[in-house]
């Protein structure tokens, strides 16, 4: 086997791995869509709090959860239909995201309804949970910037524990922008660059 043949074989292997990587890249649209819905929902909850209509916050949170669930379902099923390649990291990622929705439902709805803790604690606990989820997602996608985004969630949780009222809404929106939509946009940019 001469040098040329070896180089040819190595280039075949590299080319095929590159093509597969492009096909299995995460588009980030899932993050962007869910992030936008969550920001919109957070603003509405903030407005309700401001106008002392707190009793309407729970239905808004339920609607937000349902809309995000629908987005998640359609993203996964649409990808499943189009999918030519099934990658390990996507299977793990979707399972991780699904497994985080269960504790999220417990933290946002069940525990406060059972009066385990006050409603005001929800954003703090949600931020802690989201930080863990973003960190795990970053590890799965081998995206270092996700690790920084998870820090934004944890720092936000700390800030929200120290303040109350309207400033919390602004903190939450800021975290959603930097800790959720920004990684989605970066993923989307990387996805587009790979597709070129």
């Amino acid at each position: 086997m001469n040098n040329n043949q070896i180089q040819q074989e190595i280039s075949i292997i590299k080319e095929m791995i590159d093509k597969t990587r492009k096909e299995t890249a995460e588009s980030g649209l899932f993050f962007i869509a869910i992030g936008l819905v969550s920001i919109f929902g957070t603003f509405i909850i903030g407005m309700l709090e401001y106008f002392n209509l707190n009793h309407l916050a729970l239905p808004v949170m339920i609607i937000m959860l349902i809309v995000n669930g629908i987005i998640g379902y359609f993203t996964v099923s649409r990808q499943d239909k189009k999918e030519k390649v099934k990658s390990y990291h996507k299977t793990i990622l979707y399972n991780v995201l699904f497994c985080f929705t269960v504790p999220a439902i417990l933290i946002i709805f069940i525990f406060p309804l059972l009066k385990v803790y006050p409603w005001s604690l929800i954003p703090v606990l949600v931020s802690v949970l989201m930080g863990i989820m973003i960190y795990v997602t970053g590890v799965i996608l081998e995206a270092r910037f996700f690790l920084w985004c998870s820090s934004a969630w944890w720092a936000g949780a700390l800030l929200m524990a120290l303040v109350s009222g309207t400033p919390r809404i602004f903190i939450m929106v800021t975290i959603l922008l930097f800790g959720w939509i920004l990684p989605g946009l970066i993923l989307n940019k990387q996805y587009k660059n790979r597709s070129k």
Binding site: I12, M16, I17, T91
Partner: protein, 103 residues
């Protein structure tokens, strides 16, 4: 591994199309026939022949399913295939090293 053993590459993998198939399948859970065909740039018949050869040697497994009403062929690497491909890569590495040492 002595020099003779290193130079004796697995003939099942040592073909461009089959090497390309395994290079794709080693990185994913599974891939369908269309993706393999598009990525490798080969004909249906040629790809089928190589897939059958790999399947006969237990390096990959082929599953014929339906996605909605469309039939599709899904291929995945087996444990034996993974080991064989890794060994092949190690051999390639050793050949490169041997050639470097010569020069």
């Amino acid at each position: 591994m002595d020099q003779k053993q290193i130079l004796k590459l697995d003939p099942i993998i040592h073909a461009p199309t089959r090497l390309a198939i395994l290079s794709i399948l080693i990185t994913v859970e599974n891939a369908n026939f269309t993706f393999l065909k598009e990525s490798i740039g080969t004909s249906d018949g040629n790809l089928s022949t190589h897939l059958t050869k790999l399947e006969t040697n237990n390096l990959i497994k082929i599953q014929k399913t339906f996605k909605g009403k469309k039939p599709q062929t899904i291929c995945a690497i087996t444990g034996k295939g993974r080991k064989a491909f890794t060994k092949y890569l190690e051999q390639l590495e050793q050949i490169v090293q041997m050639q470097k040492d010569k020069t």
